[in-house]
Symmetry: C2
Subunit: 103 residues, 2 copies
DNA sequence: ACTATATGTCTAGACATTTCGACGTATAGA
DNA sequence: TCTATACGTCGAAATGTCTAGACATATAGT
């Protein structure tokens, strides 16, 4: 039984924590699943297929970006988003490895 | 761009959704990390190392159990919990595979 | 400089989650 | 049956999250 609550949570778990929070919402899951392989979408495109208002979509995109799930780049007037696949893959792999090793 | 919002979300994602929600909370992460390899803990033990009240811990344990993250069994007066490692491993693997295949 | 387009931010209200005390249930032992 | 222990549940209050309108910023074209 590990009673040391003050110890630093493993880095893989810190990443995973934000990913869990970011993807624990159905709207954000749908946004993620809107992307097809290697695709880049701007905000208007995502709003168009969403049932939410633009500010709400912007809010969710911010959470996904800050969690590292999505990357973004501004090109002219538009901001393009894409799935940060290497980050997601690494985070899942790290969590999987931590599970095997400690739990 | 996938615009089909009505289609069924893949089963691996449905599992993962609940796991994300369940583990997207710091208290629940700490509860999970309290367990050591193969360990079974009763509610009182978990409450003892938590900063939360028993009803609050009970609430979080219920969410973790319903998400499949923890298993539980009543033995006499006590209810023991343990980490459902095979389920977690499978869920992470499925999500990892979905990521590679579709995103 | 002016206008239109694309996006982000702020704020208030709506909504959902979390928390804990109080109460109820179940089991074991005297 | 009575008492003590271990849990779960209910309900109200506190807290947190989400949403959308209004406003602000930034870019491109005229």
């Amino acid at each position: 039984m590990n009673t040391d609550y003050s110890r630093a949570i493993p880095e893989a778990w810190q990443h995973m924590s934000r990913v869990f929070t970011a993807l624990g919402d159905e709207h954000r899951q749908r946004i993620l699943l809107t992307f097809e392989r290697g695709e880049r979408l701007n905000v208007s495109q995502i709003v168009a297929v969403s049932t939410l208002s633009r500010p709400a979509v912007s809010h969710h995109l911010k959470i996904l970006r800050e969690a590292g799930v999505l990357g973004s780049e501004k090109v002219g007037k538009e901001v393009f988003f894409w799935v940060n696949k290497p980050f997601l893959a690494e985070t899942f792999d790290n969590t999987r490895a931590y599970l095997e090793e400690h739990l």
